[in-house]
């Protein structure tokens, strides 16, 4: 019996959603989304009135504030992020605790500053 992956690999199934920002999402994975575009300024969208707004968003509320990161840079040589003193963030007391106080992601707290909103 073919697994789902087998069938997908053989083109026997249409693929699922890929987000436009995903660099490698399956190009054939735009189910019913041909021509769809989110535009570039959706972040400034206004809230529609009740009745127009999708019901699932009616109770949407502002996310709690995430943690403010201290300055960091990416160290190309060591291939990881470091603080201003060159200490890897994973060795830093400030950055090293992935369970730090924040709700800036919706799927765990591996990278406190990032907004991992598509990663439910």
């Amino acid at each position: 019996m073919l697994t789902y992956a087998d069938r997908a690999a053989r083109g026997l199934l249409s693929s699922a959603v890929a987000f436009e920002s995903d660099p490698f999402g399956n190009p054939g994975s735009r189910f019913a989304l041909a021509g769809f575009t989110t535009g570039t300024d959706i972040g400034t969208s206004l809230t529609s009135p009740v009745g127009t707004r999708p019901w699932g968003l009616r109770r949407a509320r502002p996310a709690r504030a995430g943690r403010t990161l201290a300055p960091w840079t990416y160290d190309e040589s060591r291939q990881l992020a470091v603080d201003v003193d060159g200490v890897p963030l994973i060795d830093s007391a400030v950055h090293g605790d992935p369970t730090a106080e924040t709700t800036s992601t919706t799927d765990g707290e591996d990278r406190p500053s990032s907004e991992d909103w598509d990663n439910d």
Binding site: A8, G56, W72, P112, D116
Partner: protein, 318 residues
């Protein structure tokens, strides 16, 4: 043989993996797709039916035919030359995806996970069906844009609503979240807006605690997530600081089911969410093929990075 890590520049879990592989003296190259095309160069040639060439960025030059595995950890979108028009940018992004993504996809290496498989596994309705097929208990679920169907479903048992995809939206430059919500009479009295798009409604599962189960190849790690507030009892994502963790032992049927689920979707890695009922039954909610594990690894002291590194270093699932 090199492990290619595709990750954004700020990703502590990827940092941890880089350090881990370095300690094991496993060659690793970390690359963020945002560097392409402006800060990275691809030169790949098909010869005798196989792709070879180089991906060059910074001082690093990665030989494509010397890769053993690729860890795909939500790298950033391509950053294209700012002078491009929107139309040119859209076209160029597509070419970058099909070109760079296509070459990497054509390499005979292990992916954790292959992006197309991740996309395939994103459909929640499909997740639930495959989970049931793999012997996992799943909640009754309604997908609809019909308010009558909602009332009918909610009339037969306690019901929650939850997004099918990202539970958030950005409006007026404010990040808004819409986590799992238990329906009440007021909700059912005013369902305007249900018709605007597909909505997911699910039977509320009586809950002792929740669990996140991480699958890496054949290895299974489970963390119990215990809510400390009424909000986190409904959806633990509401506040991480109000959670406590444990290390439960999932039933054998759950361990087998999640591994089989990953095999069905062609996934090497998966982050599963379960509700554990008071009677001990584990009920599948969803699986995120790119879900986070770093905070769970710390919370329950589980060697997930080691298990992932084993797979990446071997270029194969044991």
């Amino acid at each position: 043989m090199t492990v290619l890590i595709l990750a954004p520049e700020h990703d502590l879990t990827a940092d941890r993996m880089v350090a881990h592989l370095q300690r094991r003296e496993v060659p690793a190259a970390r690359f963020d797709t945002a560097w392409f095309p402006q800060r990275a160069h691809l030169a790949a040639t098909l010869h005798d039916g196989a792709w070879a060439g180089t991906l060059t960025f910074g001082e690093r030059c990665v030989a494509l035919d010397e890769l053993r595995s690729i860890w795909y950890r939500s790298p950033s979108a391509f950053e294209l030359p700012p002078a491009l028009s929107p139309a040119e940018r859209h076209w160029a992004a597509g070419e970058a995806k099909l070109g760079l993504g296509g070459v990497l996809s054509a390499l005979p290496v292990l992916w954790v996970n292959q992006p197309s498989r991740v996309a395939d596994a994103a459909f929640k309705p499909l997740q639930l069906r495959v989970a049931a097929m793999c012997g996992l208990a799943v909640p009754e679920t309604l997908i609809t844009n019909d308010d009558t169907a909602v009332r009918c479903f909610a009339g037969t048992g306690e019901t929650v609503s939850k997004a099918l995809g990202a539970p958030s939206i950005r409006e007026q430059n404010i990040r808004m979240t819409a986590f799992t919500h238990v329906l009440d009479d007021a909700d059912l009295d005013d369902l305007r807006g249900v018709e605007a798009t597909a909505h997911q409604f699910q039977r509320w599962v009586p809950k002792d605690y929740e669990a996140r189960v991480i699958v890496v190849g054949a290895a299974v790690f489970a963390a119990g997530i215990h809510a400390g507030t009424s909000e986190t009892y409904v959806d633990w994502r509401n506040s991480y600081s109000d959670l406590a963790y444990s290390r439960p032992c999932p039933p054998e049927s759950v361990r087998d089911g999640v591994v089989r689920y990953c095999r069905e979707f062609g996934l090497v890695y998966g982050a599963f969410d379960f509700v554990v009922r008071p009677d001990g039954c584990w009920v599948f909610l969803e699986c995120n093929a790119g879900g986070q594990y770093g905070w769970i690894e710390d919370a329950i002291d589980a060697p997930i990075t080691t298990a992932l590194a084993d797979v990446l270093a071997a270029g194969a699932v044991p």
